[in-house]
Symmetry: D2
Subunit: 344 residues, 4 copies
Amino acid sequence: MAPIRIAVLGASGYTGADLVRLALTHPHIEIAALSANAKAGLTMAEVWPHFAPYPDLPRLTLAEEVDWAGVDAVFGCLPHAASAALLATLEGPRIVDLSADFRLKDAGTYAEWYGGAHPAPALLPQAVYGLTEYARDALPGARLVACPGCYPTAVLLAVLPLVEAGLIDPARVSVNALSGVSGAGRGLKEANLFAEVAEAVHPYAIGAHRHMPEIEQEIGLRAGTDVRISFTPHLVPMNRGELVTIAVETRGTVADLRAALQARYTDEPFVHLLPEGVAPSTRMVRGSNHAVLNVFADRLPGRALVIAAIDNLVKGSSGQAIQNLNLMFGLPETAGLTQAPLFP
Amino acid sequence: MAPIRIAVLGASGYTGADLVRLALTHPHIEIAALSANAKAGLTMAEVWPHFAPYPDLPRLTLAEEVDWAGVDAVFGCLPHAASAALLATLEGPRIVDLSADFRLKDAGTYAEWYGGAHPAPALLPQAVYGLTEYARDALPGARLVACPGCYPTAVLLAVLPLVEAGLIDPARVSVNALSGVSGAGRGLKEANLFAEVAEAVHPYAIGAHRHMPEIEQEIGLRAGTDVRISFTPHLVPMNRGELVTIAVETRGTVADLRAALQARYTDEPFVHLLPEGVAPSTRMVRGSNHAVLNVFADRLPGRALVIAAIDNLVKGSSGQAIQNLNLMFGLPETAGLTQAPLFP
Amino acid sequence: MAPIRIAVLGASGYTGADLVRLALTHPHIEIAALSANAKAGLTMAEVWPHFAPYPDLPRLTLAEEVDWAGVDAVFGCLPHAASAALLATLEGPRIVDLSADFRLKDAGTYAEWYGGAHPAPALLPQAVYGLTEYARDALPGARLVACPGCYPTAVLLAVLPLVEAGLIDPARVSVNALSGVSGAGRGLKEANLFAEVAEAVHPYAIGAHRHMPEIEQEIGLRAGTDVRISFTPHLVPMNRGELVTIAVETRGTVADLRAALQARYTDEPFVHLLPEGVAPSTRMVRGSNHAVLNVFADRLPGRALVIAAIDNLVKGSSGQAIQNLNLMFGLPETAGLTQAPLFP
Amino acid sequence: MAPIRIAVLGASGYTGADLVRLALTHPHIEIAALSANAKAGLTMAEVWPHFAPYPDLPRLTLAEEVDWAGVDAVFGCLPHAASAALLATLEGPRIVDLSADFRLKDAGTYAEWYGGAHPAPALLPQAVYGLTEYARDALPGARLVACPGCYPTAVLLAVLPLVEAGLIDPARVSVNALSGVSGAGRGLKEANLFAEVAEAVHPYAIGAHRHMPEIEQEIGLRAGTDVRISFTPHLVPMNRGELVTIAVETRGTVADLRAALQARYTDEPFVHLLPEGVAPSTRMVRGSNHAVLNVFADRLPGRALVIAAIDNLVKGSSGQAIQNLNLMFGLPETAGLTQAPLFP
């Protein structure tokens, strides 16, 4: 079988780099082009420590210099707005976008949360929301797939089966989230310096995180109504990993909720309901495309806690992007994603 | 003024060690005795790296070997049950207990949560619950003070003014908590090894943490009714620090809640309402006796988020114990507690 | 091709677990048996967080319960002495031992450093010292391969070509080493608790580390004379990774030394001389079987610095063990070891 | 006694902030002015998390706006070159400079290592090299004190007594050094992001670190000859702390070297020779002005290892600066510096 020739736009960011890491050992992918902006001209080994053993990776070029004739699929790892602006100009390759640009169906919501008119609203209708486990029917025919944000991936995997089963009140979903620092990207911000982050924890973007409308959209779609959620992310001193602790209002028991998750995910290669009483941990998934879930009783009556953990850069970003590519191109869904988690 | 001669029971644990750290520079404390069990006979410099520069600290002895005639006050840093059993035998010194043994007013509740009959129920009525800012009247005359747990300290400082002002529903308090590892103590557990904790985060003791009844007792006292809370702690890869993110149901605005906190804490030396919009962080208090608080709007209607951060070993434990001692003995409340937080 | 059926003795330790991690995705390995001692009877998912997504791994059994008829190769991940005692009883499978027991050719030296008579001295002559890049001729016919220690792997990869080329004084090799905590194992020691290790660094086993005689043996073999080395390891607050900074006395220039390394490693899949001036970092190899090297001028005349980095659990242990297995069984040397480093 | 009114130039950097932290509880210091450049106009609480509990600290101003009439002493925490340029314009206050500008006696050496002519060479002769324990005679009369770099502080405390006693070869001092990240400052560099530093270690500035000439100057002064040293620093994932492992050539025994250190430091409040065999660790000094030292036998004949640990921001910078101020102004040497180390 001819390999899928891919281009990674924005290979100088953490998301792009993790895509390249996974693509390097994918049996059906050939890395055709890697783009960057400020770092165009450098090798990946010059830009990234972990590519030091790979001096032969394609050199970073400007996106404009990519030869699209030799590209079957493009991964967009650019900042929002920039991503849509550039991807809208491409005609040949199929697109897996990891930015926020094609996640929201409604251009008005996009404008409200991302502070500007959508750069390519005409493309929105064709974009598939690529939460893989919920998009399998649409992916094979898709030309443009929008990968979910990292937090939405974890939250939606945990609650969508419960919403679909009518087990929880979709209007009272309350999420506390913890994330490693790589989610903030490689940009130079004082807040992301080692000495600022280590030995500390704090919440951020309280009540204002841009992943909220995306979660609301997907829950609302299944609930058949507009919903709002509560979402409070916290920055934790670790590189990778994301854990969401979700309080839900329910008439069901823990066993009911677990049964719904079990029914939904029993055959999934990457989504795992843990045995009763086992708490999800980011240690369970580090560096892998796995997600782990579980449900616990809450001490407040009428509530339960649904908890999920993923690696924000893999299932929360680049791994899910490759999982989507696999289905778009008819490859085995797990191709290139079989690495076991790295622990310790 | 003659110094207060103290004994620290359990100086081989993190809590006891932090007490000694603070006592070392307290202007009115003299360290008379330090006890340990397995490590009796060793010097503090042999047991602790950070006391290497202090070879002249009293050697660790068994508690039975302490000469109580030379002790004005004892700090109990022993495990629960062991603490009450030993402290009940003391007649002379005034007692500041940092264990859980004298926090719950009801011996039945104690038995339910701590798995055994209370070792000294006769002492319970005289024990003062030493959340300092709420115990100032009782402390000068107290013989036995029970220092609150670390989580209860953070949670109660954040919500008690709101409960007292009738601003929140005391029956719907939902706490997500994050803690550094020192809270788990220096005992040898696989779960506390560096390689298990670093680069990871997970919830623990879900719905079953022993700090819950203590929080419920104190909220219930002010609310005039029995309450239950939701409480989910998470272990974060850092040494010190605790942050609680509390969802409350309220008819008040953020401004109302902030005003109640401001009114309550405006003259407090250690409790600080942050400026509007500034998120509490454990970086703000590391190594110090300070607590920082703030209130944020929640996206779910009728809710707000109250957030607090402390150093679990200082305001959450040894620092508050010394703050209590200061008031018990008529010393300035801030004596020995003026260290500014250590950052980075 | 029929898969190689392996048993991992000591799968409850970090080394054994990393072997299982790598074996899980090895195209020619089938995991036939996993042994443990105290944790026999548990599943790998109960013992290890990162195997939570793999509930179907073989359950841990006592070593005595392994059915050796179904095992082609055994990986020994047991403590020293216990390893040789057990492996000496096996007749069928070929053996890759990761303990220290078969590294030293001289049973007297073993007794001196490991504090007791060698449990199976009769096996020493047949044991191949499995520093793969230097053992390729011997591996295909070997029945018993002793994998080098983690520090020796890094040091020897860095200096053996220089010793062989006569470029450095083998009697004046001075190593400063830095290691992550996983090298200390999963045993319960106060010194390995998170709160003891985080935010700190210190040397240990100064002048007394058991990896010294092994390095001396291999340098001495090439130098044709007995040698002693200086070796000072330090514990660094990270999970994985090892970096050695080696001061050597030399009449050669940096270019000479680099040329010798380049000549030796130019075709190696896992050993990489970095471009001139690029400092090795453990970030370059985390989770992978790669080693990176470089040479720098020293300010003291007649000296140079040779620096190497590996992942102590992979190239320093389980990865190299699999690399050795591949060559023993005629498989491609890189089979199962193609994962790119994980960063960040 | 009237307090010493201080100004801190560069209070927006880690060094300046740690000076303010210590000054806050110094019994004889009054903070009169705090300067910054880009952050002028902000409060310290806006610039620093740990000053959140101190809203009443002086607001940051431009250095030009400081009212020097109200300042008795100025702490210069500015980058090199900028520091000398500004300090040379001051006439009134006595100066404790923490930059590199007044450490080297020779303007030519300065130009060679710092890449430009010295901004104020006329001031060099009067500058006292403020390694406190070696500068006590000069400090009371000094107008300008140059605080040593962090690495030089640790190295010189460890080796100067041995050089002075003629016990080691001053021309063969070889230093391996480990430092936390705060030493790199709060500037925005990709290399200092959390995700780049965590879980990794690497050497930097190999053979080229600017602290080398300063160490060479001070050793050379005592040895009566020009010397060169070997110095290789490594970046460790921790906030604070510095450890130097120094190989020395000696005809003395470990006991001889220990005796020389003991004799030199026995009455020092901040410099501690550890008991025989106890390895220095940065955990022993975190957040404090202490230094810990020890000597170990090396396996190579004719060598020994001298090891020292300090907190780079305290004894290596701001703490030593205050120690110097204390002596300049006739205060007790330990005033404001009595904090015990923070552990864990």
